[in-house]
Amino acid sequence: MTRQPNDDELRARFAALRQEDSRLLPQFRGAQQALAATPRLSRWVPAAALASAAVAVLWLAGRDRDTSDRRGLDLAATVWRAPTDFLLETPGRDLLRQVPDVGHVSVPSLPNGLPEENRGSG
């Protein structure tokens, strides 16, 4: 790898950083200490996973029951009345619905099919 002149400046900066980092270096612990000091996987993680799964199952079960209830509903048999239906109940509505009765008219029938005055005189 060839070094460019500019790289030396970067290299010097990183060297200074390495020197400062070395002051922060923690002591190397032995294997037993390292294993003992490591935080184990939190007990809450499996518990939370289990609880999430239970919630999901309950939610899915609830959703299925809702849809089955809706399937059992017979829409043809239901009657819905609007709260403003009473406005359509006008006074005298029954009279308007009926055909008016104007009495009985009798028409006399003639023996030859036509009345006397309508017969031709020749």
Partner: protein, 169 residues
Amino acid sequence: MDLEAKLAEHHGAAFGWALSCCRWDRHDAEDVLQASYVKILDGRARFAGISSFRTWLFGVIRRTAAEHRRRRALRRFLPLSRGERSPDSRGGESGAERALLRSEATERLITALGLLPARQRQVLHLVFYQDLTIAAAADVMGISLGTARTHYERGKRGLRAQLKDLRDE
């Protein structure tokens, strides 16, 4: 040489790499390093001898740091582990503490590195801080040599520009 002795030998370099993976948060770096050692010592991470021990160790630390970040992000949404302290409560290295520990020039370098994309920051650290070749850095990062070279060149350009901007401010 047994595993523990090898880890002790690379402890300094491993801590520097852990710091870089954790954006120079000392407490996070210590946690990540400890978790990586445990992974290695209890056999969850095994050295197959394909690369050098150092390169392999750095790869383990990189993956452990990524897991650590993901777990922390998850913890923000799920307050599961009340026993664990938050970064704020344990006094993450910042402000006054950092000012005491770091020189102005180094502080500026850390800030400039923090503004770079993770891959660029990592490759620059591995090459300039750890004195690895770009090929070894590519191994640690799990990317191809060509990709590592691209990140290296862009990273250098970006870092110089950031350092210049920070100097001008």
